[in-house]
């Protein structure tokens, strides 16, 4: 029996700390969103894991949730699906209450913040990325931490191999540490073309697949333009 007995503590009745049920697990995978001038891409690998086991080689985790918005929540898959399901239900309510008005990406982002923060003390264990076009038709990426802190960005990698991909994106999308060879000044920022972005995404994922065991099998890229949403699939290494 502990000497710290008091009416505040019910732990004192335990002499040994028992094995406790762990409500979380990690299902691996990695995600990546890049915004262009008039498009946005949101990509994710299709491997689904628990521990060292590959559960599935094709389990999509990037979703077209309607209103030309793409959403993914990478980390603990059960929480990810719950969050997205939650968001979709809220979206139906929104359409019902607002004469089927499309929900803007700005509003969607704020809504997701509230869904995440609503579970502040039993969080959704996920890194969330939302992609779409903003009110001016410009490509837009919003990324969230597990409890709802969010930011609009040009690009963001999330999930298992985020630490491998993110510096590569800094370098290749935002031209960080790159100088103009003529003038020696910082290289001018410019919007990348869709083809260039898709090539970057494919490079990023094949690099991550090479060095991260929870990444691989397949790459699914969802692309949103003013024409709508389109999906591309590329195989990745399965080892």
């Amino acid at each position: 029996m502990s000497t710290l007995a008091s009416e505040y503590s019910n732990e004192v009745t335990h002499d040994v700390i028992e094995h406790r049920f762990n409500p979380y697990s990690d299902n691996g995978g990695t995600i990546l969103g890049i915004a262009g001038e008039d498009f946005a891409v949101l990509a994710g690998d299709t491997r689904h894991t628990t521990g060292y086991s590959i559960n599935s080689r094709y389990e999509p985790k990037v979703f077209n949730i309607g209103d030309d918005l793409l959403l993914t929540a990478n980390g603990f898959q059960a929480d990810g699906t719950a969050l997205i399901k939650n968001f979709k239900n809220q979206l139906i309510q929104y359409h019902f209450n607002n004469d089927n008005k499309k929900m803007s990406i700005e509003s969607s982002a704020r809504l997701i913040q509230h869904l995440l923060y609503g579970k502040r003390f039993f969080p959704y264990y996920v890194h969330t990325i939302l992609a779409g076009l903003d009110s001016e038709g410009k490509g837009s990426i919003y990324s969230f931490d597990p409890v709802g802190s969010y930011e609009r960005e040009q690009c963001r990698a999330g999930g298992a191999a985020a630490s491998l991909i993110m510096p590569f994106l800094d370098n290749q999308v935002n031209f960080k540490n790159q100088l103009d060879p003529e003038t020696g000044n910082k290289k001018q920022l410019k919007y990348l073309k869709l083809e260039e972005v898709v090539e970057l995404v494919r490079d990023a994922f094949s690099s991550a697949t090479e060095r991260h065991i929870h990444v691989g099998d397949g790459l699914e890229i969802l692309i949103v333009t003013k024409e709508g949403v389109r999906t591309e699939y590329y195989p990745l290494k399965r080892d």
Partner: protein, 275 residues
Amino acid sequence: MNHDPYHWGRPSNETYGQYNYKISNASNINKQFNNASSCDFPTMLTQQPMITGTSVIAIKYNDGLIIAADNMGSYGSLMKIDDLERLIQVGDKTIVGISGDISDLQQIERMLDDVELEESYDMESSNLNAEHIHEYLSNVLYNRRSKMNPLWNACIVGGFDSNDEIFLKYVDMLGVSYSSPSMATGFGAHLAIPLLREKVDKESDVVKLNKQDAIQLVKDCMKILFYRDARSLDKYSLCIINKTSKEIEFLKNLKCEDMNWEVGKNIRGYGIPQL
């Protein structure tokens, strides 16, 4: 001064009278008023499984899918039940294979029974398909885990979806779910999956596997599992879901065949022959 850290900063009883425990909302508040011993013990939720069932395995083939599970319920290393049915048919379109805690399995069985009953009242034809059962199970399991009171199971749901296509999906105690053309729970994920993936690794491999080969493959897997999984039995059930005939064959009391235990006597230590 009271040196108990839990009392630091607390108005002393001598000066202010007995502390009102209702303010603190402490979990052992009742003790002060009821003087009952029942609340000495904290509320207990499932922290570990008791009687358990081992692997469930499933694989798709060119005209449907096969799902199998053995008939044992073990209590630790004791074979408590040897005629346990872990493949549950729900309606005429779904088979659920369940591993993990058996009392929770039976609870799930009752819940699925209720669902089936409720759905049968006002429907002229049965509309309850495998997709619905999977959705229902994942919601139940996820909600229970979110209450920190899980149903300790891993389930494989197989059958037909809304378009009468073959449906196969997994869901476990955490609410994690995924689909794959070949899958297994528990030990099967380590021992059977490599064998199943040799034949069906991706969706496009499904057309290359016929029914006979698929049955043989699943039987081989059950044998391998019986060889190496100490909590498994050589008696098992096997369900074959046929896509074109829309029939579910339910085979019970199958035994592992053509077993060879000769290798056993050569195994020393951890499988490396010792001189």
